[in-house]
């Protein structure tokens, strides 16, 4: 069977020969025009005068568009219509698109946008947590609060109380392919849009609204992205809409791609957080209660900030059974880029905070940090009674709302009603029944030789005063499903041709994660045919409609199941037909090794397909899947938002130069739970890449805005993602040998986001190394850049 095989990426032969086409590589029709945005140079204010005559007169410029030139919706928001394509006269961050230039070349468009003369009445921007709180500048009318038991009382009566406040920086996606779109006008006002997007249906919706046409007039195609990481869930809307509007206005194909600096200045990033914590522990290190205060810096528009901030709350427990917990989350509106989806979608920020609490408590109680964590783990996996989810009553939805967006969340207020304390439940009342980390931790402690290395590091640190080493363990428990329950659906379209070859299509998009290959493996397995007989095709809104974004790690789970359903429909039709011909029972027809067998008769799959065709059997089917068992009330903070949890554990060892703060990752050991992996080669790739990206977020990747709201780190020259030379010297990655306890596609587990949070162990290891410089707790902020590590060392030595 094709599933479980460690096959490389489906397009690998194209990639190594340079022939894999991304949006910018697609041959364009003659006369294609190129677009660029003129950007706001101030963070907050009103436009008082605009002189674009020099722009219009610039060489190659065909047209210049402002808000007055937009025929219909001026909106690229995935949520509450608060994000205009072009400024409506007000500006809200440095980098906001104000006008659009259409020119004969990319270079001409980019040169022309510099010539705009715009006067602004500047206002004081809101850039920090303090400024946002002082101005009560926020999304939603107040904080969301989820609670279980009585956290304050439990903390007050605990033997040990710790508290602290720290900063968690944002993160630039740095997909190596910048945002790009190409719109090609078709007959009758229709439009074909090629977009580098994780969410073709949303592009279709936003383009349709911008052109004032029904969604059926717009076709969006996405073959692949050069990386997404969440940055192409909603941030591609502006380019696609701009191209479509300009294509409609000029009658020519229009293409737009952001130059790297523009991409970093215009588009949203991971949410920066400030988190305060207070926690009580008993003498043995059992947590009694914890209280978190989370401030999420959301930027100027709502985008997907509500579900991101929700997910940060939902991962404030990580792997730990919190008897009493209170999580208060504020979503602050600032005059910076609109923070957006990024791998983990808020989960990492929530998880960093509880890992900080555990690390701080272990230091305070002088307990081994691994042992303290294990004492607080959820109970091991066990059977629980099945609870049927309640179907939510549906009102009259507005078809013009973008219902397929994660921004389409419920809002409202509810009194805080804490859940009862106790039970093996999360702070939002979900029973944890599939907990794998006891066994995984035990196995990783052995394979990483943790105890001996910890002792060796203590000896090293006692003997060396300049280079200090540190080691840390961190676990991951990550919830799988969109928290907006209705998004947990997927469709597929499968054709079998009369020669036995198979055309595969589904709603998921390929951004490098290997989704297409994994789903093709499912299709090949269902028909019992070699993988080469399955043609993988571009995501296309004309083939599978109303898709959810390829996000929330859901791609394989949802689309794999939808494809399975479609394949099984065709297979059953073929089996019924052949059984009838041979007067056999359909269940006796088998599909294996490229053959279809019925009784003594054995056909090749191609022969069987040809026979079925001649027998007038339909060889085309759609498939559909919706995730069972889930329900969620985000206002009350209750329910079962996740179908299951994916788990992982990592140990990282680092060395720090205490004179400079410079540091290196020396060794990383990872054990990750991908269930019964559909493809171990691709899954291990996700784990390795996720860890390095997560470690990058918490160590070298620092976003810096100046006092006026200018992003000063807008290119790889100033924003440091991990390079080849930063990879751990020793990097041992293994998959946990298990299977999903829930009935997912071949019992596999989602693997896109969870490994990202394994990088937390790198941050904790740096803290552990700094802790060797004194007796107090280092209390590092994130990212722990060399400067932050140096500051930590100075604090330990009483220097600052």
């Amino acid at each position: 069977m094709s599933v479980t095989k460690p096959l490389p990426h489906d397009a690998a032969p194209l990639h190594v020969s340079g022939s894999a086409r991304y949006v910018d590589d697609i041959p364009t029709p003659k006369g294609t025009l190129h677009l660029a945005f003129g950007l706001s140079p101030i963070a907050k204010g009103t436009i008082t005068a605009m002189d674009l005559s020099a722009v219009k007169a610039a060489p190659g410029v065909v047209r210049v568009m402002t808000v007055q030139d937009l025929p219909f919706a001026n909106d690229v928001s995935p949520s509450i219509h608060d994000e205009p394509l072009l400024s409506d006269g007000t500006v809200h961050y440095i980098g906001q698109p104000v006008f659009l230039v259409v020119a004969t070349s990319h270079l001409a468009a980019r040169k022309a946008v510099r010539l705009g003369k715009i006067d602004y009445a500047e206002e004081t921007p809101i850039l920090t947590v303090e400024e946002a709180l002082a101005a009560d500048s926020r999304f939603e009318d107040g904080p969301r609060i989820y609670a279980k038991g009585d956290a304050d009382a439990a903390i007050e009566s605990a033997a040990h109380v710790i508290d602290g406040t720290f900063e968690i920086g944002g993160q630039e996606h740095f997909y190596l392919e910048g945002q790009a779109a190409l719109a090609v006008p078709n007959e009758g006002g229709d439009m074909l849009v090629h977009s580098s997007t994780q969410h073709p249906t949303e592009i279709q919706h936003k383009v349709a609204d911008a052109l004032g046409v029904p969604m059926h007039a717009i076709r969006v195609e996405t073959r692949r992205m050069g990386g997404g990481f969440g940055g192409k869930e909603s941030q591609g809307n502006a380019l696609a809409v701009a191209c479509a509007v300009a294509a409609r206005a000029t009658g020519k194909a229009c293409k737009m791609r952001y130059d790297r600096d523009d991409d970093m200045i215009i588009t949203g990033k991971r949410h920066a957080f400030r988190i305060s914590y207070r926690a009580g522990f008993d003498e043995q290190g059992h947590i009694q209660g914890v209280s978190f205060l989370q401030y999420a810096i959301c930027g100027w528009a709502q985008d997907l900030s509500l579900p991101v901030a929700d997910r940060a709350m939902l991962h404030s427990d990580n792997a730990y059974l919190l008897p009493n917990a209170r999580i208060e989350s504020h979503r602050l509106k600032t005059n910076t880029q609109s923070a957006t989806a990024y791998r983990g979608f808020g989960g990492p920020q929530g998880m960093v905070a509880i890992e900080r609490v555990m690390d701080h408590a272990a230091h305070e109680l002088r307990l081994d940090p691994v042992e303290l964590r294990r004492r607080n783990y959820y109970e091991p996996a066990h059977k629980v009674a099945e609870v049927q989810p309640h179907e939510k009553p549906l009102g009259h939805p507005d078809p013009h709302e973008d219902l397929t967006s994660r921004g389409a969340v419920e809002t409202g207020t509810a009194p805080v009603r804490p859940l009862p304390a106790g039970g093996n439940t999360t702070p939002y009342g979900m029973e944890v029944s599939d907990f794998e980390l006891h066994g995984m931790t035990e196995a990783l402690m052995k394979s990483s030789d943790y105890a001996a290395r910890k002792a060796a590091i203590a000896k090293w640190n006692a003997e060396n005063s300049v280079i200090k080493k540190g080691i840390a363990f961190s676990p991951v428990k990550f919830g799988i499903s969109f928290t907006l329950t209705h998004l947990n659906q997927a469709g597929a379209l499968v054709h079998v041709y009369q020669d036995g070859s198979v055309h595969l299509n589904h709603g998921g998009t390929e951004m490098g994660q290997g989704l297409f290959q994994k789903v093709a493996q499912v299709a090949a397995s269902r028909f019992g045919i070699p993988l080469e007989m399955v043609k993988i095709t571009a995501t296309d809104t004309a083939k599978v409609p109303n898709t959810s974004a390829t996000a929330a790690s859901s791609g394989s789970d949802l689309n794999g199941m939808a494809v399975k359903a479609a394949c099984d429909t065709i297979r059953d039709r073929m089996a019924d037909y052949l059984a009838e011909r041979h007067q056999a029972d359909p269940s006796a027809v088998t599909f294996t090794d490229g053959h279809v067998s019925v009784g003594e008769e054995r056909y090749t799959f191609a022969e069987a397909a040809a026979l079925a065709y001649q027998g007038r059997i339909s060889l085309s089917a759609t498939g559909f899947y919706k995730t069972p068992k889930i329900e969620w009330d985000r206002i009350a903070g209750r329910g079962r938002p996740f179908y299951y949890f994916a788990y992982g554990a990592s140990v990282t060892e680092v060395a720090v130069d205490t004179l400079t703060g410079e540091n290196r990752i020396l060794r990383t050991d990872i054990l990750h739970d991908a269930g019964a992996s559909l493809n171990p080669a691709l899954d291990v790739g996700q784990v390795e890449g996720g860890y390095v990206q997560g470690a990058g977020w918490l160590t070298t990747e620092e976003l810096v805005w100046d006092g006026k709201g200018n992003l000063r780190t807008h290119a790889p020259s100033t924003y440091k993602i991990p390079a080849c030379s930063d990879r751990p010297d020793i990097f041992n990655v293994a998959l946990w040998d298990g299977e999903n306890r829930e009935d997912t596609i071949y019992r596999s587990k989602a693997v896109g986001e969870p490994p990202f949070m394994l990088g937390i162990s790198a941050w904790l290891a740096l803290s552990n190394a700094v802790a060797a410089c004194g007796d107090t707790y280092p209390a590092l902020n994130a990212p722990a850049t060399a400067e932050e590590v140096w500051r930590g060392v100075q604090r330990m030595k009483g220097g600052i």
Binding site: S17, R21, F174, G689
Partner: protein, 159 residues
Amino acid sequence: MKKFHVTTTVNGDAVEYLCDPRETLLDCLRDKLNLTGAKEGCGTGDCGACSVTVDGRLVCSCLMLGVEAEGKQIETVEGIADGDILHPLQKKMIEYAALQCGICTPGILVAAKSLLEKNPNPTEEETRYWLAGNLCRCTGYDKIIRAVMDTAAEMREAS
């Protein structure tokens, strides 16, 4: 602006194009010669996605002007395979699943090939630092390094 006529050699083929003197070699390769294997990742020479060799020297084609290619020998990712026969590096990149989104892959292959031509027996550290100018956001680099090291070993055995 007046366009310049450039005659150069790309992957062994004599080619010519007309270009604005401000256009980069990368733009000329992509837009005039339809060789879209080299990618623009940053446009400032920091990411390596546009790597090519010019007279055997590894360069970022986004930092070189198209007019400077006059009379040079340019090699791009499209020239690494011999027709349909993949270079050992290409085979190993596939075998090791050393790519995900794939957009850094052409640059990494050009850079790695350039390394092995200069030094058929690089240490792992030399390989890592040589490739430090080629950013990859997906893989975490481990499989890339292992693919390059294994290719080097295999090519040494074969020669």
